[in-house]
């Protein structure tokens, strides 16, 4: 990045004393200035650049059909548009039209349009709920009382030293890039809420501090979906699921790959371990099994990194 200077577009009016600078010799100079201006803010600049030019570059790479097939994989063809959509650099209507312009058959683009719909849905709910978006929308279906969940983030999570290669990898990416694939968000959220039994609000706030696309709509309601305060059952996963959609990249280097992985069990075993018996969950689960759906299968309405929403079973 040799020609790295960052000059703001010119203003047609005189600047006032005390206004913030709009010209920098380099991205490093911008970072240094921001560290001066915002000394409380932890971290450094993300490798992901803000701005319309970068947003349009990504928009031009949209491949709705490939997205539909491969979006669940961490290295799959997801759009990475979420930070730009969240901040209105691109409107949802502009992205919709870009998808339409690349649509040969409706079926091939339905998944991506559906994911944009999720973003619109969460925004409508935020409008309706206001700051109530921080409260449980429904009772938890985990069999545990709300009081059973810790209210703060443990240090090993905040510092990314849980000893689990996958979780520590996701945490490092959250802290350095401010963006995570939606599947990684779901796994990390489920680990926090169900394995570590931490209030979803603590995790949601942690994500909002770091995610470039963080807003309480998609973020909090997705945490509530994982926790089960906005869904009919808690979301959890097992090693087989994580290993498949991460192409084994974390498990290969994990110290716990042979023994001690907390995710290395069947869904039945994990359910018994993580949740207290609750007749309603089991009744729903039984119906789902009879319907031929399995937690290991690719889920209906599965995750979109663009929209920080977990996969859902409906």
């Amino acid at each position: 990045m040799a020609s790295d200077s960052l000059a703001g577009v010119p203003l047609a009016w005189p600047e006032q004393p005390g206004e913030l600078p709009r010209r920098f010799d380099s991205r490093q100079a911008l970072e240094a200035e921001l560290q001066q201006l915002f000394p409380e803010a932890p971290g450094a600049l993300s490798p992901i650049r803000g701005g319309r030019r970068q947003a349009e570059t990504l928009l031009n790479r949209l491949q709705p059909e490939r997205y539909a097939k491969g979006r669940n994989f961490l290295d799959g063809p997801v759009t990475r548009l979420s930070p730009y959509i969240r901040h209105g650099v691109l409107t949802l209507a502009e992205v919709r039209d870009a998808v339409f312009a690349r649509t040969r058959s409706r079926q091939g683009s339905e998944k991506l349009i559906n994911e944009l719909g999720w973003r619109d849905y969460w925004q409508r709910l935020w409008q309706q709920l206001g700051d109530g978006i921080w409260r449980d929308q429904e009772e938890l279906k985990t069999g545990h009382s709300a009081a059973a969940y810790a209210s703060t983030l443990p240090a090993d999570i905040d510092e990314g030293r849980t000893g689990l290669a996958c979780m520590d990898g996701f945490i490092a990416e959250l802290h350095t890039s401010g963006w995570l694939h939606n599947h990684a968000r779901m796994w990390l959220a489920a680990y926090l809420v169900h394995w570590r039994r931490i209030r979803w609000q603590a995790g949601a706030q942690w994500f909002l501090r770091h995610l470039l696309d963080g807003d309480p709509a998609s973020n909090n309601l997705s945490w509530q979906w994982v926790a089960s305060s906005f869904s009919h059952k808690p979301y959890f996963f097992n090693r087989g699921n994580l290993e498949r959609y991460s192409n084994g990249s974390f498990c290969r280097s994990c110290a716990l790959r042979e023994q001690g992985c907390p995710f290395d069990a069947s869904y039945e075993q994990l359910e018994a371990e993580l949740f207290a018996p609750l007749p309603a969950i089991r009744a729903v689960d039984q119906r789902n099994r009879e319907g031929g759906r399995d937690r290991n299968s690719t889920r209906q309405g599965a995750p979109s990194a663009a929209l920080s929403r977990p996969a859902r079973r409906r």
Binding site: V9, P10, A12, Q16, E19, L20, P21, R22, L30, E31, L34, Q35, L37, F38, E40, A41, P42, G43, A44, S46, G50, G51, R52, R53, A55, P83, H87, G88, V89, T91, A93, E94, R96, F100, T103, R106, I113, N114, G117, R119, D120, Y121, R124, Q127, Q128, G130, D131, S151, T152, T176, A202, A204, Q205, L208, R209, H210, L212, D215, P216, R314
Partner: protein, 156 residues
Amino acid sequence: MQRPILLAYGEALGPANPALLAYPDRPAVFVFDSALLAGLSPTTGDPEGPNEPVSLQRIGFLYECLLELPVSLRKGDVAEEVLAFARAHGAEGIVTSAGTDPRVAAICQTLEQQLPVEVLAVEPFVQLEGPADLGRFSRYWRRAEREVWASWGQEG
């Protein structure tokens, strides 16, 4: 509105911002909201949780978006800074874009005690007549999907 200033905030940092489109020659401002960045607002922090500041990567991302827009940059209390900007430019009102965050609506209410505020709509993803059932996504999508795809049909 005659001689307004324009208020941009974190939900409309692109060229489709309707205030920037409607008044391309008027001075515009964005204020880095000190309370929000300190985690003191429900936009970034649990009202019942510990107050923790937003990371530099989020601020940097916003800053890079803002450098590509014609807006003056300030930081502090949003309403105070916007009113100071309006005074400096002899403005008779404030124009901004419609959004979702309740914090923006509250700031606009404060501004309205001093100057008229005009809020312009952003093109929606989908227009639904009447209230939508948001109990679950599936109920919303049953209605919305048809409307969204109708606009593809028109174009195609």
